[in-house]
Structure formats: structure tokens, C-alpha cells
């Protein structure tokens, strides 16, 4: 069956070259035309699963109250006094403009908060800012009020009163990028007046997709340029480089078109183009590049030997059809294991990239040989007549490796074993701030908010009980006091704070009454009094309609998922110790969800990697017709995976959902080399090369395209220059996967096969 298919494809490419090229181009354009149906989904929140317990709790909190994570916008000038009529008028204007943004549910700022004053038996619930343009007296009064009400000022003012903080509560998590863009549009024209800092989870998740898109596009172009340059230096033929690149572009076009068509016909969110999908073109480029590089470099070697294009092409395709087919299906299978990912879009990711890989295989088996055949090659050209520097290099490299196979193997095994110990030190942790390199604007803004303002993230403690009962409210105060002692917490607030403030106000601003009143009747009187002039929505984010559920919000500095878990556990232990017969509590918020989500992604990525290795083993076993070859085919990949996670443990690189996911993606890039090596070994064992020479011949033939593939893909190492750590990881992992799997193939696998060559020779020959 495979022979028939191989013969048919070769016949089409060589006997009907023009028709084959036109037909493959036509079909590619038809598939690629689906690009217009691609649905861009920038919202990271849409990617996150909704069926995790912590997400359910968080959604319940949002459903009962409002959205709990805020976006922060701080403006001012360092060292100045922001409490002046001009800046306050600007805060008013900005708050009004932010309030008009459709995504914004509530603006919490100096111009929207209330103050409670009591003087000579007169209680007034009024605005902190009664009007936009305040007189000096009014500004002084406001300043005094804020000085004596730190629970309010800590949220809206910097510690040195040189910045004003405006807090936006989103209506939902449906369009953070839209909200961030709207805020940026508003503040853009004031950047010369004041220094602005933005932060908070909605800002991070809203700004990251655009940043990733921009940086990926720029660095990918740079990577492509480097790739083309390395190919040109080694292949020394512009048409040959053009042919490799054309396979890459046509595969990428069909892949994107496929995604568009599937979305068009199914409308499933699994096939939307989200932030994660930005890595798809890069991953496909490296895979499609591998096919083209193997075919062209082999074609040049065969042409050098036979001086005949058709013969060289026939020899090349006869030898490479099976390994290219095998590498394509093994890589596709590896990507299809992503359907088990808790992230819905990863199903689409795996299927789309799988299609792209299979289309790259079709193009490499039909279009590429047909194009090579159509080109009039000059056999005297140095590209064909003389080996390249890399070819000479691998020749020498191969000889030295095969001279001491046992030493090489022992060294390789020791490296893998030693690094595997590092797996036990792996730290599964995410700190959102660490997604950005030092100096990145988002990171610096977030650090500023953490340092000078209320912080950039929050932790929610949901309290269920009778929230008019003084005992419950006093316990809430105790919990708040306990939480406030954490060095990362800047301020906390809850309905208990409002009650304390009302109590103080009604008792003529006597600070000793800034407490929870001793009877339920008094608490109720305070609420009733407030309702005479306050808005019914004023407490909506603090307590539910029945006063049965309330929230304690801790505004804090950006911390890692691990730290938040420790904090949540300590809070839980404290509550249990204090006794909580009258109420129950639950900790919630984005970070609690992120912790569970990260664990889930890491677990599913590891499962996906293991499953990929098992599938590759079986596919290689079936096609090479012996379990030994199946086992050998996964040696470099398994070594690379162990090295990857082991070195992460040794060097203290946190395993986050990003790194786990990227490892499972990029590992697919590195499965090809072993298959090419084994396939070549079997080919030579069947074609009469003796056991003495077989390994050297295999390294000579396969080593060069492997190294050329690796070197040309090093261009994507440019991603390391990104200011976004996920892209840095992607570039780094790409380089690491390429180097580790190629070296694994040319050292460990080559040594194992050299040591066992007699046995394997017989098996291959059989």
C-alpha cells in the first residue's frame, strides 16, 4: 500500500510535474481561502475552563456580587501633591470618561466615593468631591478627611499622596482587550501632563494578547530571515531556498485556511484563533522546513553522485517518502493528544497544526519534487558538486562519535540521569508579574502599584452568615486584621468597614466608636439611615441583598500561585482556630483559580507528552516492523523531555501552565530526527552496506539535513529577545528541543545503534 502510494506520488511529480504543481497550488489556495473565516479571540479568559471547583466558586461570587478583579489606573507626578484642584478636576473628568466605557461596570475613584460627616448631630452622606472644580477650602477639607480615613485613602491615593488611583470594575470578563484599548485611548492624550501606571488582572489579560501578537510578528519575521540566510549559506542555491520556503508558506496558508473553514462550518470556539494559536505558524514553519531541508539536501547529494536530476530525485524520494510520512503522522499524532487539554482551544490547535503537518507532507511528496524536477539544474554548480561546510563538519563529527560509542553513550546517559534528578526539584508556580522581563512597561507599572498604591491583585474571602449579627461582623474584622498582617497585603475592605465608619459618624466622629455596634438593632438602624441618602447599589459589591453573604477583599501585591495558596491555608487555619460556628468562609479569586488551572494544565501537558511518546513508539514499531526500532525511535525524544524538566528543576525555572504547554507543543518539533536516522539505517541494512560502514554512512546522510534543519530553525531563537517571558520560553524551548533531540539522535541513538549494530542490522534486513 505504502509502496503503491509512493510510486504514484513519484510518478505524478516526475511525469506530470507542471500539472502536479498547478493542482497542489490550486488546492492549497482553495483551502487557504478559509483564512477569511478565522475568528480572532483575544480574550484569554475565554480559554480558561469553567468546570474547575475554584472557578465555580469564583463564578458564584461574581454572580452574587460583581466582578471581583479590578483594573487600576494611577496618575500623578512623583513627589508632587496630587490633592490640588487641577488634578482633582482631571480625576473627575477621567472617571466620567471611564464610566462611559461600555465594558466598565463601576468606577471607584476620588470623584465617585462617598464621605460620611457628622457635626453637631448632623449626619451627611455626601460625595468626596461634591463637584468637578473644587475650591481650595474644599480641597483642604477633602485632604483632611482622607488623612483620617485610611481605609478609603489607601484605595484611591498613593502612600505619599502624589498619585491618584482610579479603580475600574469590569462588567464581565468577556472583552478585557477592548476595555484596555478604550482606557488607553482615553489616557493617551494626557500622557504629557501626568505619569500613568496601569495594572490589575483585567489589564494584564487584556494587554498581553496584543503584545504577544506584535512581538511574535516582529520576531517571527526576524527568525524567518535568519532561517533563509542559514539555508542559503548551506544549500548555496537561491532557487533551493525558495523551494523550501514555498513549502513552508503553502503549508502555513493551508493550515490557517483549514482553521477558518472548520470555524466557518462548526462555529465552535475550539477553532477560534486565540493567544496560544500565535505559536502555530512558528511550530509549523520548523516542521515544514524539516521536510524541505531533508529532501533538498538529499537531492543535492544524490545529484552529486548520479549527475542526473531524475535519477537523483527518484533515489531521494524513494528513500525519504517513508520517513517523511512517518515523521508527519507521528508529529500529527503528538499534536492530536492535545485534545485532552483543559484549554478548549488546544483541541483546535492540535487538529489545525496536525492538518498543517499533513499538508506539508503532501506538498513535500508531490509539489516539491515536481518543482525540483521542473528546474533546470546545473550539475557543475558548487551547490551540487561540492559538499557544504556543514556536510564536512558532520562527516568529521560522525567519525569521532562512532569511534567511541560506549563512552559517548555513557556520557549521554549520565547527563540524562543527573538532570533527571532535577525533576524532583521542579516548582509548579505562576507569578503573573514574571511573565514580563524587568523593564517591561506592564511589569514596572504593576510593581509601582504594588509599592505605592493598594496593589495590583486581590484575594477574596466569602463569608456566609447573618451579616447584621455583631458577632459575625466582629469576626470579619478579626479576619481582616489577620489578613492585613501579611506583608504582601496593602489594604482590606468589607461591609464591616462601612458599618464601623457609619458608627463613628453617627457618634459625632468619635474615633472610639469606629467599631461594630454591640446590637443588631443598631447595625440595622445604621443601614436604614444610610439608605435615606445612599444608593441601593452602594453595598452591592460588599454584601448580598439578604445580608447573608459578604466579601472581604484583600488588595495586595502581585504574588505567585504558591504564595497565595500558603496565604489561603493560613487564613483558613486562623478562621478555624477562632471558631466559626455562626458563619462559613471560602477563599476565592482569580489567583485561586489560576493555581488550580496551572496544576491542571501541567498535569494534562505531562499526560500529553507521555501519550505522544507511547503513540510514536507504536507507530514506529508498526512501520519499521519491529519493537526494537519503535523503542529506539523514542530514545532522543524521551531524553530531551527528561533533560528539559530536569534542567528546569536544577536551574529553578518555575513550571507554569505556559512552560508545560509549550513543552508539550515544541516536543512535537523534535520527533523527526530519530525516525530519519532509523529509516536510513534500515535502508542501508537492506541495501548491502556492511555493518562496519553502516553507522558512518547513516550519520553522513542523515546528519547533514538534521544539522541544517537545527541550524536554520535557530532563527526562532530570536524569540528569546522578547520582553514577554512566554515568548522567551517558546524561543528557548524551540532551540532546546532542536539541540537536545538532534544531539540525542546523533549521540545517544547513534551510539546505541552502533553498539547493537549486528543485532539491529539483522532485524532491519529481515
Amino acid at each position: 500500500m505504502t509502496h503503491k502510494l509512493k510510486r504514484w506520488a513519484l510518478n505524478q511529480a516526475l511525469e506530470h510535474s507542471r500539472r502536479t504543481v498547478l493542482l497542489t497550488l490550486f488546492i492549497t489556495v482553495i483551502i487557504g481561502s478559509g483564512v477569511r473565516f478565522i475568528f480572532l479571540d483575544d480574550n484569554i479568559m475565554n480559554m480558561l475552563p469553567k468546570d474547575i471547583d475554584s472557578r465555580r466558586i469564583w463564578d458564584e461570587v461574581i454572580e452574587d456580587f460583581k466582578y471581583t478583579d479590578f483594573m487600576f489606573i494611577a496618575f500623578g507626578n512623583s513627589g508632587g501633591n496630587i490633592l490640588n484642584s487641577e488634578a482633582l478636576s482631571f480625576a473627575w473628568e477621567l472617571s466620567e470618561k471611564f464610566d462611559d466605557i461600555p465594558h466598565v461596570d463601576e468606577v471607584i475613584s476620588i470623584s465617585t466615593l462617598n464621605r460620611m460627616d457628622s457635626d453637631d448631630g448632623f449626619l451627611e452622606v455626601g460625595d468626596l468631591m461634591p463637584h468637578k472644580n473644587m475650591t481650595e477650602e474644599e480641597v483642604a477639607s477633602l485632604s483632611d478627611y482622607l488623612k483620617s480615613n485610611s481605609n478609603i485613602s489607601s484605595r484611591i491615593l498613593s502612600k505619599d499622596a502624589d498619585y491618584i488611583n482610579i479603580i475600574l470594575r469590569p462588567k464581565s470578563d468577556h472583552d478585557f482587550p477592548g476595555m484596555v484599548a478604550a482606557v488607553s485611548n482615553i489616557t493617551a492624550s494626557y500622557q504629557n501632563q501626568y505619569e500613568f501606571h496601569f495594572g490589575g488582572q483585567p489589564h494584564l489579560t487584556g494587554a498581553i494578547p496584543a503584545l504577544i501578537k506584535t512581538e511574535t510578528q516582529q520576531l517571527m519575521l526576524l527568525g524567518l530571515f535568519i532561517m533563509a540566510a542559514i539555508l542559503l549559506i548551506n544549500l548555496r542555491s537561491l532557487p533551493a531556498v525558495g523551494m523550501v520556503l514555498s513549502v513552508i508558506f503553502l503549508s502555513a496558508l493551508s493550515m490557517m485556511g483549514f482553521m477558518g473553514w472548520v470555524y466557518h462550518f462548526t462555529q465552535t470556539s475550539r477553532f477560534t484563533f486565540s493567544m496560544v494559536n500565535t505559536s502555530m505558524p512558528i511550530v509549523l514553519l520548523t516542521i515544514a522546513n524539516s521536510d524541505g531541508v531533508h529532501i533538498l539536501s538529499r537531492f543535492f547529494r544524490e545529484a552529486r553522485k548520479h549527475k542526473d536530476v531524475k535519477k537523483a530525485l527518484t533515489m531521494t524520494m524513494n528513500q525519504l517518502m517513508l520517513p517523511i510520512f512517518l515523521t508527519s503522522i507521528t508529529t500529527t499524532a503528538a499534536f492530536l493528544t492535545m485534545v485532552s487539554s483543559p484549554i478548549a482551544t488546544m483541541t483546535g490547535y492540535g487538529a489545525t497544526i496536525g492538518f498543517g503537518i499533513l499538508w506539508a507532507w503532501i506538498l513535500s511528496s508531490t509539489y516539491l519534487p515536481a518543482v525540483i524536477h521542473l528546474k533546470k539544474w546545473n550539475m557543475q554548480n558548487t551547490a551540487i558538486s561540492k559538499p557544504s561546510i556543514l556536510e564536512n563538519l558532520i562527516h568529521r563529527f560522525g567519525r569521532s562519535i562512532l569511534e567511541y560509542p560506549k563512552r559517548i553513550l555513557a556520557t549521554g546517559v549520565v547527563i540524562v540521569v543527573v538532570s533527571s534528578i532535577g525533576i524532583w526539584f521542579i516548582n509548579v508556580e505562576v507569578n503573573i508579574i514574571n511573565l514580563f522581563k524587568p523593564g517591561n512597561e506592564i511589569r514596572e507599572s504593576t510593581l509601582f502599584l504594588d509599592r505605592e498604591m493598594a496593589g495590583s491583585m486581590n484575594l477574596i474571602v466569602k463569608v456566609e452568615g447573618d451579616l447584621k449579627d455583631p458577632e459575625v461582623l466582629n469576626k470579619m474584622v478579626d479576619i481582616q486584621n489577620y489578613i492585613s498582617k501579611f506583608p504582601t497585603v496593602n489594604t482590606t475592605f468589607s461591609i464591616a468597614d462601612v458599618i464601623k465608619e457609619m458608627h463613628k459618624s453617627i457618634m459625632d466622629n468619635d474615633p472610639k466608636f469606629e467599631t461594630i455596634p454591640e446590637t443588631r438593632g443598631k447595625i440595622n438602624n445604621l443601614f436604614t439611615m444610610y439608605s435615606m441618602s445612599g444608593d441601593p447599589d452602594d453595598f452591592e459589591a460588599l454584601v448580598n441583598y439578604e445580608y447573608e453573604t459578604g466579601l472581604i477583599t484583600a488588595m495586595m501585591q502581585s504574588v505567585s500561585t504558591k504564595e497565595i495558596v500558603i496565604m489561603a491555608d493560613q487564613i483558613k487555619a486562623y478562621i478555624e482556630e477562632m471558631g466559626s460556628e455562626k458563619f462559613i468562609t471560602e477563599t476565592s479569586g482569580m489567583m485561586m483559580f489560576l493555581k488550580d488551572f496551572t496544576n491542571l494544565v501541567v498535569q494534562s501537558s505531562i499526560n500529553s507528552i507521555i501519550l505522544s511518546i507511547v503513540i510514536i513508539l507504536f507507530i514506529a514499531w508498526i512501520f519499521f516492523r519491529h519493537w526494537k526500532f519503535g523503542l529506539l525511535s523514542v530514545i532522543p525524544l524521551t531524553s530531551a523531555v527528561i533533560l528539559n524538566f530536569g534542567l528546569m528543576g536544577w536551574f529553578g525555572v518555575d513550571l507554569s501552565h505556559f512552560t508545560a504547554l509549550l513543552t508539550s507543543i515544541i516536543i512535537g518539533v523534535g520527533v523527526d530526527f530519530a525516525i530519519h536516522y532509523i529509516s536510513e539505517f534500515i535502508h542501508y541494512s537492506k541495501n548491502g552496506i556492511g555493518t562496519d560502514e553502516i553507522s558512518r554512512q547513516v550519520v553522513d546522510d542523515v546528519g547533514y539535513p538534521i544539522l541544517l534543519d537545527v541550524f536554520s530553525n535557530m532563527g526562532f531563537g530570536a524569540l528569546i529577545a522578547s520582553s514577554l517571558i512566554p515568548l522567551v520560553h517558546m524561543g528557548g524551548l524551540m532551540v532546546f528541543a532542536m539541540i537536545s533531540t538532534s544531539l540525542g539522535t546523533l549521540t545517544i541513538l547513534a551510539s546505541v545503534m552502533e553498539i547493537n549494530k549486528q543485532n539491529l542490522y539483522k532485524t532491519g534486513n529481515a
Binding site: G121, F122, I506, N525, M532, G534, P536, D537
Partner: protein, 248 residues
């Protein structure tokens, strides 16, 4: 009947009834000197959850003087509220808080502040004056079989208000509002209000108001029972000493 109403409206137009004149006719309507009512206020939030309070109110001079006592829920019983409006100075508002045994003056500095946690603001409850609003009749329409003028009220520039304009369905024969839509400054509807009347002693007396805040999806229904009119309540009754006594 409908035809007659239409004829009346057409004749009114022919004789050029202006918005200001319509508002004047509404103001000229005869009203009781004072009243005592029991009210049931039901607040409903966007999730359909409700809060119910019953109150007793005595008013005089078209609501310029008012005392409200909370009867239920039990937590609120005894709380009372006194309001006296003044033309030349800020309104006077006091509250009796029985748990604290204190009377506290309170202030709603913003006209848009909610009244008693309801969807009605102080602005909604106050009469619109011609020096603050521009009135215009923009058409006519039937509402629940009553022919109505459509009265548009736009605040003048110096007025601080959360509203951009209001459209009121004014009964063309009784000159009472039956329905009102209030819009924000962007032209989006904020509130819808419905008014139901009954005739007691020749007066058109409100028996139910329903206000829905469309944007917040929150509504308030006020039902009036046990209405007693023209009881001869004296001005001195509106004094804080009466706040502490729940009337029978």
C-alpha cells in the same frame, strides 16, 4: 369617548396649549391639604430577590412636610424620618434611630441620591419648576385607554441632574401623570415610572407607583392603603418630638 378625547387634544393644540401651560394645569390640580397613608414598599433586584417594608406616612402641603415611620420589618420598626422642604434653604431631614436613642439630621446633597434605598431619587419626587426645565408637548398617545399629552421636560443648562430629558404621559382630562420615561444624557432610557390613581373625596389620589431602573434592572413598587385625607394636621406636628411616637 376616544374620539372625544382626540377632539379635545386637537382643540387644545388649535388653541395652542404649550408645555408650560400643561405643567401649570397639573400644578393647579386640587389636592388634599394633608394625608395619612400606609405604604408597602417592595424592592426587587435583578435576580428577582425582594425586600419589603411597610411604612406609615403623614404629609402636608403636597409633600413639602412629611413624617414616615417604619412599621416592618421588625429590624426597622420604630425608625422614623421627618422632612421639611424649604424654598430658600436646604431641606431639613431628620431621623430617629431607636437603637441609638438619637435623632440625627441627614442630608441628601445630591438630587440623584436614592430615597430610602428605592429606585426613586429625591429628584424624581420633587416638582419640576419652569425656571429649571423647558417643557414641550411633543405629541399625543393613548395610555391604558386614557388620552394623554406627551410632555417632554428638558433640564436647563444650569441644573445638575443625572437626566437628559423625561417624557411624561399626562392624562389630557385629569392632568395627572400616568407614565414617565426618564433618559440619561446619552439618550438611553434609565427609568420607567407608572402611576395609578383613585378618586377619594374628589381628589385624584395615588395608590400605586412602580419605578423600574432599566439600566440597573432594579424596581420599586409603592402601594398606598388606608388613605385618610384632610385630617387638619397642624404644622407643629412636623416636629422631631413626633418622630419617637409611632401613630396609631
Amino acid at each position: 369617548m376616544k374620539n372625544l378625547a382626540i377632539i379635545i387634544i386637537i382643540i387644545s393644540w388649535m388653541f395652542g396649549l404649550t408645555g408650560d401651560e400643561l405643567v401649570q394645569k397639573m400644578d393647579d390640580r386640587i389636592t388634599p391639604k394633608d394625608s395619612k397613608v400606609d405604604m408597602v414598599m417592595t424592592l426587587t433586584n435583578k435576580k428577582g430577590k425582594t425586600r419589603e417594608s411597610s411604612l406609615r406616612s403623614t404629609t402636608k402641603d403636597d409633600g413639602a412636610k412629611q413624617i414616615i415611620w417604619f412599621l416592618s420589618p421588625a429590624d426597622d420598626k420604630g425608625v422614623s424620618f421627618l422632612k421639611i422642604e424649604h424654598d430658600d434653604k436646604d431641606d431639613e431631614m431628620r431621623m430617629w434611630l431607636p437603637a441609638f436613642k438619637k435623632i440625627r439630621r441627614i442630608s441628601a446633597s445630591k438630587r440623584s441620591d436614592s430615597f430610602m434605598g428605592s429606585d426613586m431619587s429625591y429628584e424624581d419626587m420633587s416638582t419640576r419648576q419652569s425656571n429649571e426645565f423647558k417643557f414641550k408637548i411633543i405629541g399625543s398617545e393613548f395610555f391604558k385607554d386614557a388620552s394623554c399629552y406627551l410632555l417632554e421636560s428638558k433640564p436647563k443648562e444650569h441644573i445638575r441632574t443625572e437626566y437628559g430629558h423625561h417624557i411624561t404621559w399626562v392624562d389630557s382630562t385629569l392632568f395627572v401623570p400616568l407614565k414617565e420615561e426618564s433618559y440619561d444624557k446619552m439618550g438611553k432610557i434609565i427609568k420607567e415610572k407608572y402611576f395609578i390613581y383613585t378618586v377619594i373625596n374628589k381628589y385624584q389620589i395615588l395608590t400605586e407607583i412602580k419605578v423600574t431602573n432599566i439600566q440597573k434592572n432594579h424596581s420599586t413598587t409603592l402601594k398606598f392603603n388606608n388613605i385618610e385625607l384632610d385630617r387638619g394636621v397642624k404644622d407643629s406636628y412636623f416636629h422631631e418630638r413626633y418622630l419617637k411616637r409611632l401613630p396609631k
